[in-house]
Amino acid sequence: MAFLNSKSSSYQFQTVNANLKEPWLKKVSIDWKKYWPLYLMALPAILFYLVWLYGPMWGSLIAFQDFSIRHGFLGSPFVGLDNFVKFFESPFAFRVIRNTVMINFWNLVFGFTLPIIFALLLNEIRNKYFKRVVQTITYMPYFIAVIVVAGLLVNFTSSDGIFSDIIEFFGGTPSNLLAQPELFRTIFVGSEIWQFLGWNSIIFLAALAAVNTELYEAAIIDGAGKLKQIYHVTIPGIMPTIVILLILQVGSIMSLGFEKIILLYNPLTYETGDVISSFVFRRGIENAEFGFSAAVGFFNSAVNFAMVIIANRISAKLTETSLW
């Protein structure tokens, strides 16, 4: 009847209304009541970030100042984008950015995927003892100082070095490989793989260990061979790890330290080997231009951050995993 109808309809209306207008404050306090032990557990970490990372963060604004260490942040004048202009004015700005990105890109294609493949292959080794030995040995190069690795590499790539010997064996002419700009990226990325394959695979090995053995058993029962097992159980099992690490790696696209570059490059290979950090290093040796290097750093960070945001969004759409 009309009386009942109107009452029920107004009741419904009231319920919908309540959902829409439920105060945010109420939601938060319910959340707090339920989860306060968790927030408490996260507190030490949050405090850490506040003090040690957000505390000094004003320093990133040095990029916009004509910074004097004597007068500090508050005493140095702001110059807007001047420092950035100084960098981009150089005829070499584009080249060093391009080189940075290209080296990082190839490092991502090979340096990211090979450790995964290596981890998968290693996982298939049955002999426990052999497996352990391989694991231990392959992560050793990580600890060798850059100077030594570079020294070895300079040695091997000289015209009388072992790489030239091999080339000669196959009928080519021996030459100094580090004098050829076409080869620089290959040599550099190759040496990165050599040094970091084992170390980078550790995290994947750990992820592989966490894959539920029951899933494997189920797959075998269903008649799946090795390859199918890997495709249907293993890879999906470690996919979150892979995706997260990939996003993080994409977020380092502009970051390339100068130490190894400086040890391996020479003016003949500036064309492909001179990167942002080595260029800034050469400029800054005598000048301690804080504003300038801060600006370059800021630019790198901004691009990295943009890449991470994009990668994250794509990942969130395609897979279930994302950074935030």
């Binding site: 939601k27 938060v28 959340d31 989860y35 032990p37 968790l38 927030y39 557990m41 996260a42 030490p44 970490a45 850490f48 003090v51 040690w52 990372l53 957000y54 000094p56 963060m57 990133s60 260490i69 292959l121 290693l122 298939e124 080794i125 052999f130 391989v134 694991q135 231990t136 040995i137 392959t138 190069p141 600890f143 060798i144 030594v148 070895l152 070095g161 072992i162 394959l197 084992g198 550790i202 995290i203 090995l205 750990a206 992820a207 592989l208 260990a209 966490a210 539920n212 053995t213 029951e214 061979g225 979150p240 790890t241 997260i244 993080l248 977020g251 804080f290 750093g297 960070s301 935030w324």
Partner: protein, 294 residues
Amino acid sequence: MRQTNGERIFSVFNYFLMAFLCFVMLYPLWHVAMSSISDPVRLFTERGIRLLPIGDLTLKGYELVFQNPNVATGFMNTAYYVAVRTILSMVITVMAAYVLSRKGPYWNTAISKFIIFTMYFQGGLIPFFLMVRAMGLMNNRWAIILPVLVSTWNLIIMRTAFAGIPESLIESAKIDGASDFRIVWTIVVPVAQATVAVIGLFYAVTMWNTWFNPSIFLTDRALWPMQLILREILLEHAAVTSAQSGVAGVTEQPMYRMLLQYSTIMVATVPILLIYPFLQKYFISGVMIGSIKG
């Protein structure tokens, strides 16, 4: 277990591949080890692959390292820094990773963003230095430990691992009345032990390798970690530092320069290399999950 022919061939190939990789990877360390006991004069000129030490064997390189009085304290300091830092960092990171891996809490996304942002925008060296100073930590051991307690990268990886733990395990524990805190240490960590072990390794190794922060915050050499002492030995090759030698590396016993480079690397690296095998036992396959579920 029966293997198909294809699987057997693959297996053989795999073993060979691994052996080859081992040789290629082992070579740099082997080269350094052999060089560190080689005749310093010949070390100067010999180039190329080195499978055996060259010339007369000598322990002079190690002598030069260990006769420095600071090396012993350096080791003790490093042991201290590594132990304290790893324990503290792990506790904080594990807890934070657990919290952030839960789907419920409203603030998790905000906290994640808050944390990840710092991976991209940082203040730089001078503000960091001034911060440490402002906290009164100059020339204090805590200056080495506190500012690096949490690594965002490690935190994210651990979060990912914790997020992968079946909800059911945690649910059942909750039903049994366990607090979140207990759940973390009795269930989450053991189940994700492989990743936890790895992150512990990462924290330990970065602390083992650290020398730069100590160089700007610790003026008292008695507090220096071993890497910094070794670095100084290497760059200077004297018990007293560079102010007296002047003209860069011109004639300071250059005969021993190369030898010393190798022996310091050995001393700096071999101890940490010995740790990894002990952690490998945590990388066993996911037996745990199956058994608990049953």
